[in-house]
C-alpha cells in the first residue's frame, strides 16, 4: 500500500487535494438542482475521505517530524507562506474531520429541508476549513482557517438550527471571536518581537518555535492570549457556556461536527501552539496548577451539570465539557502516556459524542422532541436504535474495551505521578459520567412505555441510511477500544516530541529514566 501510494506521488498532492476538492465541490452543488445537492455532497465528501485514508499508510510512524510538507509563497514579503504538514497529532485530527463529513451529509439527509444547496455547500466549505486548521504550519495560515471555520458553523446553527438559534449562534460566534482576535494580537506581537531579534519577519511555525525562547517577559502575555482562544474553543470551564446553547440549537450534523471536530481545534491548539511555543510559561507551576485545576473542575462540573439537564442534547453538550477536561488534564500532565491519552480522548470523544448526536437527531426526527420527559421505554419499540445508543453511551462513559476507556485511562495514568490529588478527583468523574449517561439511557429507552407517540414508533426503527451513519462510528469505538495500537503507534513520536518540547527549561524536571535533573536556571 505504501509503495503504491508513493508511486502515485501521494505525499505531494494529498494536502492540496484535501483543501481544494471540498471547496471545488461547492460549485456543482450551487449549479445543480437543490434536490441533488446532498448527493453531490455525499460523493465529494466520500471521495475526500477515501483519498485521505491513504494518509494512514503513507504516514511514517517512526518520524516525529512533519510529513507531506509543502511550502508555497503567499505573502512572502511578510514571511507568510502556505506552509502545511502533518504529524502524529494532526494525522488523526485530519482523518477524523474527513471521516465525519460523509456521515454528516448522510445524517442530514432528511433533516435538512430548506436551502439545501447552501447547507451542503457550507458543509463542504467546513471540510476544507477543518483540514486547513490541522495542517497549517504558518501562524497566519492557521489563524486564517481558524476564523474561517466560524462562518459555516455560524450559518449552520443560525439558519438550520432550533428555535433559540439566533442567541446560540451569535454567542458561539462572539465567544470564539473574542478569544481568537486576542490570539491574533499575540501572533503579531510575537512575530514582531522575533523579527526584532532575528531580523527576519516570519510566521513560520518552525521558525517561531526555534526563537520562542527569546521572547522574554512578554511570553506570559502571548501565552495567555493563545490559551484564552483555545480554552474557549475546547471549551474549558468557565468559558464553556456557549457550548450547550450551540449544541442544543444546531442541526444534527452541526452538533456532530462541533463536537467531533471543532472542539478538538482547541486542544489541538494547545498541543501544537500554546504549550510548545511557551513551555516555560505553560509548564510553570502556577500555570500548570491553574490549568490542571480548571481541567478537573471541568470534568466534575460538566458531569454534574449534565446530570440535571432536561434536554438530551444539552446533556451531551455538558458531557463534552467533562470529556474535554480529560484531554486538557492529559495535555497539562505532559507525560507520554497522558498526552497520547489526551489524543485518544479527543478521537474517542469524536466518535462517541458524534454518534450520540446522530442518535439524538434520529430520535428527534421521529419524535420532534429532545426532552427526556417525552421518552421512555423505547427499547421495546426501536431495539436497534436502543442497542446503538447503549453501545455509544458505554463508549462515552469509558467502559473498558471501548474507545473512551483507553484515552481516559491513559490520561489518568499518565497524570497520576505528578498530580496525584488532581488525578484522584478526576477519576471520580467516571462515576458521575456513568450517573448522567446511564440515567439518560434509562430515561430514553427503559422505563415504562406509556406515551402514545412513543408506542407509535414501533416499526420505525433505524433504516439502512441511519445504520450506515452510526455503524462506522460504533465500529471505530470497538476497534479503538480493543486494538488501539496502530493508532497509538502513529502518534507516539509526535507525543514524545510534544513532551520534550513542553519540558520547561527553568525548572527541575523528571527525565525519561526517572532520575531528577536540574534544568538550566
Amino acid at each position: 500500500m505504501t509503495d503504491f501510494l508513493s508511486s502515485l506521488g501521494y505525499a505531494q498532492w494529498i494536502i492540496p487535494v484535501l483543501l481544494l476538492v471540498p471547496v471545488a465541490g461547492i460549485l456543482p452543488i450551487l449549479l445543480a438542482p437543490a434536490a441533488q445537492a446532498k448527493r453531490i455532497a455525499l460523493v465529494v465528501s466520500t471521495v475526500v475521505f477515501v483519498v485521505s485514508l491513504g494518509l494512514w499508510w503513507a504516514f511514517d510512524a517512526t518520524s516525529g517530524n512533519f510529513q507531506f510538507a509543502a511550502t508555497l509563497p503567499w505573502m512572502p514579503f511578510w514571511g507568510i507562506y502556505y506552509r502545511v504538514g502533518i504529524d502524529g497529532i494532526s494525522l488523526f485530527m485530519v482523518l477524523l474531520s474527513t471521516a465525519m463529513m460523509p456521515l454528516a451529509v448522510l445524517g442530514s439527509w432528511h433533516y435538512i429541508t430548506k436551502a439545501e444547496r447552501g447547507y451542503y455547500a457550507l458543509l463542504l466549505a467546513m471540510t476544507s476549513g477543518m483540514v486547513g486548521v490541522f495542517v497549517a504550519l504558518d501562524l497566519f495560515l492557521f489563524y486564517f482557517f481558524w476564523e474561517l471555520i466560524l462562518i459555516p458553523m455560524y450559518f449552520i446553527i443560525g439558519v438550520w438550527g432550533g428555535p433559540n438559534r439566533l442567541y446560540a449562534t451569535i454567542k458561539f460566534f462572539l465567544y470564539t471571536m473574542f478569544g481568537s482576535l486576542l490570539m491574533l494580537v499575540a501572533i503579531l506581537l510575537m512575530v514582531w518581537q522575533t523579527a526584532h531579534t532575528t531580523g527576519i519577519v516570519s510566521f513560520d511555525y518552525a521558525f517561531l518555535l526555534e526563537h520562542a525562547g527569546e521572547l522574554g517577559s512578554a511570553a506570559p502575555w502571548y501565552f495567555a492570549a493563545f490559551a484564552l482562544a483555545f480554552a474557549i474553543k475546547v471549551p474549558m470551564v468557565p468559558f464553556h457556556t456557549w457550548l450547550p446553547d450551540a449544541h442544543t440549537e444546531a442541526p444534527t450534523a452541526g452538533s456532530v461536527l462541533l463536537a467531533a471536530v471543532l472542539l478538538k481545534m482547541g486542544t489541538y491548539g494547545f498541543l501544537r501552539f500554546a504549550v510548545p511555543l511557551f513551555p516555560d510559561v505553560a509548564m510553570s507551576p502556577p500555570v500548570t496548577a491553574l490549568f490542571i485545576s480548571l481541567a478537573v473542575i471541568g470534568i466534575i462540573h460538566g458531569a454534574l451539570v449534565a446530570m440535571v439537564q432536561p434536554d438530551v442534547k444539552r446533556l451531551v453538550a455538558y458531557s463534552s465539557v467533562s470529556h474535554m477536561g480529560f484531554a486538557m488534564l492529559g495535555i497539562w500532565a505532559a507525560t507520554v502516556q497522558s498526552v497520547q491519552g489526551a489524543l485518544m480522548v479527543m478521537i474517542g470523544h469524536g466518535l462517541a459524542t458524534g454518534a450520540l448526536f446522530f442518535l439524538v437527531g434520529m430520535l428527534y426526527e421521529r419524535r420532534h422532541s429532545r426532552m427526556f420527559a417525552d421518552f421512555g421505554g423505547l427499547a421495546r419499540v426501536i431495539p436497534l436504535f436502543s442497542l446503538m445508543l447503549t453501545i455509544t453511551a458505554l463508549a462515552s462513559i469509558g467502559l473498558p474495551g471501548l474507545s473512551g476507556f483507553v484515552g481516559e485511562f491513559l490520561v489518568l495514568l499518565g497524570s497520576f505521578e505528578n498530580h496525584p490529588w488532581a488525578t484522584g478527583i478526576a477519576t471520580t468523574g467516571v462515576v458521575f459520567a456513568a450517573a448522567y449517561m446511564l440515567w439518560a439511557v434509562q430515561r430514553i429507552i427503559y422505563n415504562p412505555l406509556v406515551q402514545p407517540e412513543n408506542k407509535a414508533l414501533a416499526g420505525h426503527d433505524l433504516n439502512l441510511r441511519e445504520v450506515l451513519v452510526v455503524l462506522p462510528l460504533i465500529f471505530g469505538m470497538i476497534w479503538l477500544g480493543l486494538y488501539p495500537k496502530p493508532v497509538l503507534r502513529r502518534m507516539e513520536a509526535a507525543a514524545t516530541r510534544f513532551v520534550e518540547f513542553s519540558i520547561p527549561r527553568a525548572v527541575t524536571v523528571q527525565t525519561a529514566d526517572g532520575s531528577e535533573t536540574e534544568g538550566a536556571k
Binding site: 440535571v308 502516556q337 491513559l410 497520576f416 467516571v430 462515576v431 426503527d461 507516539e492
Partner: protein, 698 residues
C-alpha cells in the same frame, strides 16, 4: 507438578487419555465460546424484533420469519451449548495444566493492547491454579444456571436477549478471572458490571428494575475508582500492571506496612467492596434482586460478587504486606456479615433474604482473605457458589411456581413474598429437599459450607494471637453464624412448612418445576453435599487439597503473613461452638416461625420497634439518598447549573458584558441630541483638550 496431588490422584492422572487434555494456550476458547454465543443470540434478539436493515427487504422478511420460527431452539442450543462447551474446555485445561512442567502461571499473550512508552499492556490471559479454580466454578455453575434458565425464561419475549446477556456475562467473567494484568482484569471487572446492569434491568419497563440496574452500576463504579487509583499507584511504583511483574517487584519496591502499600491495598479493597457488596457499598445488591432469579443466582451469588474476594486473593501478597489493610479487610468483612445477617432476619421477600445472606457470606470470605487465609476464602467462595446457587435456583423454582399459579388465577399478589407462601413442600417435594440441603449447608451443618466457614473462623481465631482484635472478629463471626442459621430456618419454614397462604384458588396450580429446572438443582445439591471434600481438613480425614493446590499463589503472601490454625483441644472447642450456634439458630428459627401465625402480605400489619428498623434495612438507602444523592442533584441543579453557569458565567459575564456594551451604547446615543449647540460644545471641549496637550507637550 504432580507433587501437589496425593498419590492415588497422581496415578489417576496418568490414566487420563491424551485426547482429553488441552494445553493452556487453548484458554482463549473459554472466552471466545460465550462471546460467540453472545453475538449469535444478540443478532437473533435484534433480528427477531424488527426487519434486518442491511439486507434487501424481501430477503430480510424471509430471514425474519425463519428466525422467528426457529429462534427459540437456536437460542437454547447456542446459549447453553457454548457454556457447556466452555465448561468441558475448562476441565480439559485443568487436566492439561497438570501436565505442564512448571508450577508457575502460563500467560497467553493475544495481542499488544495499549502500548505507550513505558506503559505496555497486552491483551493476555493467565492460566494458573487460582484462575483455573475460578474458571471451573464459573463455567460449571454457569452451565447449570443456563440450563435452569431454559425452563425459567421459556415464556419470556426477551428470551434471546436474555441468553445474549448471560453469555456476554460469562465471557466478561472469564476475562476477569483469566486476565493476566490488572487492566485486562478491569475489562472483565467493568464488563460484568455492565452485564449485571443489563440483566438487573432486564424487565426494563418497570422503572424500579431499571433503577436498580443503574444503582448497581453506579455503586460499582465508585468501587472502580478505587481500583483505578490503585492501578495508577502500582504503575507509578513499578511501571507495570502485569500480575506476575507487580507481585514480584512491588514487595521489593516498597516497605512492608508502609503508607504506599497500605494505600494501594485500601484502594484495591474499595474496588472489592463495590463489586462484592461490602460496607459501605453493599446497597446495590438487595435491589439487584429485581433481575430474573437465575441472574441473581449466577451473578449476584455465585460469580460476579465474588470477584472482590478473588481480587484480594489474587493480590494477596500486597495485603499480606499491609497489616493495617488486611485487618480492615477482615473487619469490614465480619461487620458486613453481621450487619447483613441481621437485616436478613426480618425480610419477607424470599430473594431479599437470600441477597442479604449473600452479602453476609461475602463478608465471611473477606474475613478469610483479610485474615490471610486466602485458600480458606477461596474455599468458601466455591462452596458458597454451590449452595447459594442452589438456594437461589430453588427460590427461583418456587417463584416460578407461585408466579404461574397467580398468573392462572389472574391474581396480582407478590409471588416472591414469603408471607404468601407456606406449605409448599407438598407441591414441590424436590425443591423442598434440595433447598433444605442448601439451607443446612449455609447454616453450618457439616456439609460443604460448614467446612469452609469453620476454617475461616478458625484462622481468624488463630490470628488473634498476633492481633487481639481478631478474637472480636471471631465472636462476631459466631454470632453471625447463629443468625444465619436462624434466618435460613425461618425462610424454609415460612416457604415450605406450615399452612398454605397462597389462597385457595391459586393452590391447585402450584406444581414442581420441569426437569430442565430441577435437574440443575439436583446437581447443585450433590455439589453442596460433597463440595466440602475439596479442602477437607485433616481432622475430618482430608488433606487440604485446595490449600495445597493454591500454594503457588499464596506462598509469597505467606512470607509476610502466615496465619495458623488452632490445634488440639482448641480446635475441637471451636468446632463445637460453631455447631452449637448453628443448631441453636436452626431450631429457634424453625420453631419461632412455625409457631407464630403469619398474615399474608396484603393484610400484613406495619412492623414495629426494632423490627421496623430491620425491615427497613436500618434506613441506609434513605440515609444515602438524603446525604449524598439528593444534595448532589440539588447542588448540581441549583448551584452549578442555574447558579454558576446560568447566573454567573452567562448572566454576569457573557450577557452582562453584552448588556453593558448595549447600555453604554444607549447612553452614547442619548448624547446625540440633534442639537448643534451641544455638538459645538463637545467640539470646543475637544479642541481645548488638544491645545492643552500641545502646550503641555511642547
Amino acid at each position: 507438578m504432580l507433587l501437589t496431588l496425593a498419590g492415588p490422584a497422581a496415578q489417576a492422572l496418568e490414566a487420563v487419555p491424551r485426547w482429553l487434555v488441552l494445553h493452556p494456550h487453548w484458554v482463549w476458547l473459554t472466552v471466545a465460546l460465550p462471546l460467540a454465543g453472545f453475538l449469535i443470540n444478540g443478532k437473533l434478539a435484534i433480528a427477531a424484533s424488527g426487519p434486518v436493515p442491511l439486507l434487501p427487504p424481501k430477503l430480510a422478511q424471509r430471514i425474519t420469519e425463519m428466525v422467528r420460527r426457529y429462534q427459540h431452539g437456536i437460542v437454547t442450543v447456542v446459549g447453553t451449548g457454548v457454556l457447556l462447551a466452555a465448561f468441558v474446555v475448562s476441565l480439559m485445561l485443568f487436566l492439561g495444566f497438570q501436565f505442564l512442567d512448571t508450577q508457575s502461571a502460563y500467560v497467553l499473550r493475544l495481542w499488544s493492547w495499549i502500548p505507550v512508552g513505558r506503559f505496555q499492556v497486552d491483551m493476555a490471559l493467565q492460566v494458573d491454579q487460582l484462575s483455573l479454580v475460578m474458571l471451573l466454578v464459573v463455567t460449571g455453575v454457569g452451565s447449570l444456571i443456563h440450563l435452569f434458565s431454559v425452563g425459567y425464561m421459556r415464556e419470556d419475549p426477551g428470551y434471546a436477549r436474555y441468553f445474549a446477556y448471560l453469555n456476554l456475562f460469562i465471557a466478561f467473567m472469564l476475562v476477569l478471572v483469566l486476565g493476566s494484568s490488572f487492566l485486562v482484569m478491569f475489562i472483565g471487572w467493568e464488563g460484568v458490571g455492565l452485564c449485571s446492569y443489563l440483566l438487573i434491568g432486564f424487565w426494563f419497563e418497570d422503572k424500579a428494575n431499571s433503577d436498580a440496574g443503574k444503582k448497581a452500576f453506579l455503586v460499582n463504579r465508585i468501587g472502580d475508582v478505587g481500583f483505578m487509583i490503585a492501578m495508577f499507584m502500582i504503575w507509578t511504583t513499578v511501571g507495570s500492571l502485569d500480575f506476575s511483574t507487580v507481585l514480584r517487584e512491588l514487595p521489593a519496591a516498597v516497605p512492608v506496612g508502609g503508607a504506599l502499600i497500605t494505600a494501594i491495598t485500601m484502594f484495591l479493597f474499595l474496588g472489592a467492596t463495590g463489586k462484592s457488596a461490602q460496607i459501605p457499598l453493599y446497597v446495590w445488591l438487595p435491589d439487584a434482586m429485581a433481575g430474573p432469579t437465575p441472574v441473581s443466582a449466577l451473578i449476584h451469588a455465585a460469580t460476579m460478587v465474588t470477584a472482590g474476594v478473588y481480587l484480594v486473593a489474587r493480590t494477596g501478597v500486597l495485603f499480606a504486606m499491609a497489616p493495617i489493610s488486611s485487618t480492615i479487610v477482615a473487619g469490614v468483612g465480619v461487620v458486613t456479615a453481621l450487619f447483613a445477617a441481621s437485616m436478613a432476619l426480618r425480610q419477607y421477600d424470599i430473594k431479599k433474604v437470600l441477597a442479604y445472606s449473600t452479602i453476609s457470606q461475602l463478608g465471611y470470605m473477606f474475613l478469610g482473605v483479610g485474615t490471610g487465609a486466602f485458600a480458606a476464602g477461596i474455599f468458601h467462595l466455591i462452596t458458597h457458589a454451590f449452595f447459594k446457587a442452589l438456594l437461589f435456583l430453588g427460590a427461583g423454582s418456587v417463584i416460578h411456581a407461585m408466579h404461574h399459579a397467580y398468573h392462572e388465577v389472574h391474581s396480582s399478589e407478590d409471588a416472591q413474598d414469603m408471607r404468601n407462601m407456606g406449605g409448599l413442600r407438598k407441591a414441590m417435594p424436590w425443591t423442598t429437599v434440595l433447598m433444605w440441603i442448601a439451607a443446612l449447608a449455609i447454616a453450618g451443618m457439616p456439609l460443604s459450607g460448614f467446612f469452609s466457614k469453620d476454617e475461616i473462623l478458625a484462622y481468624a481465631f488463630g490470628r488473634g494471637h498476633d492481633n487481639p482484635v481478631f478474637y472480636l472478629y471471631y465472636v462476631l463471626g459466631i454470632v453471625t453464624a447463629l443468625m444465619t442459621a436462624f434466618y435460613m430456618a425461618r425462610l424454609m419454614a415460612m416457604t415450605f412448612h406450615g399452612k398454605s397462604r397462597t389462597g385457595a384458588d391459586a393452590e391447585p396450580y402450584l406444581h414442581e418445576a420441569p426437569w430442565i429446572m430441577t435437574g440443575p438443582l439436583v446437581v447443585l445439591g450433590i455439589l453442596t453435599v460433597f463440595g466440602g471434600m475439596i479442602n477437607l481438613p485433616t481432622w475430618a480425614g482430608g488433606h487440604h487439597w485446595l490449600q495445597s493446590w493454591l500454594l503457588p499463589i499464596t506462598a509469597t503472601a505467606e512470607m509476610y503473613l502466615r496465619p495458623e490454625l488452632p490445634h488440639g483441644t482448641t480446635e475441637y472447642v471451636l468446632i463445637g461452638l460453631a455447631l452449637t450456634a448453628a443448631l441453636v439458630g436452626l431450631v429457634a428459627g424453625y420453631r419461632l416461625t412455625v409457631g407464630q401465625t403469619i398474615v399474608p402480605a396484603r393484610d400484613a400489619p406495619e412492623e414495629r420497634g426494632f423490627w421496623k428498623v430491620l425491615y427497613h434495612k436500618y434506613y441506609v438507602d434513605e440515609l444515602y439518598d438524603a446525604v449524598i444523592v439528593r444534595p448532589l442533584i440539588l447542588f448540581s441543579q441549583r448551584f452549578l447549573w442555574k447558579g454558576v453557569d446560568t447566573r454567573v458565567v452567562d448572566g454576569v459575564f457573557v450577557n452582562g458584558s453584552a448588556g453593558i456594551s448595549r447600555f453604554l451604547g444607549q447612553i452614547g446615543s442619548r448624547f446625540q441630541t440633534g442639537q448643534l449647540g451641544f455638538y459645538v460644545l463637545l467640539f470646543v471641549l475637544g479642541a481645548l483638550w488638544i491645545l492643552r496637550a500641545m502646550v503641555g507637550g511642547g
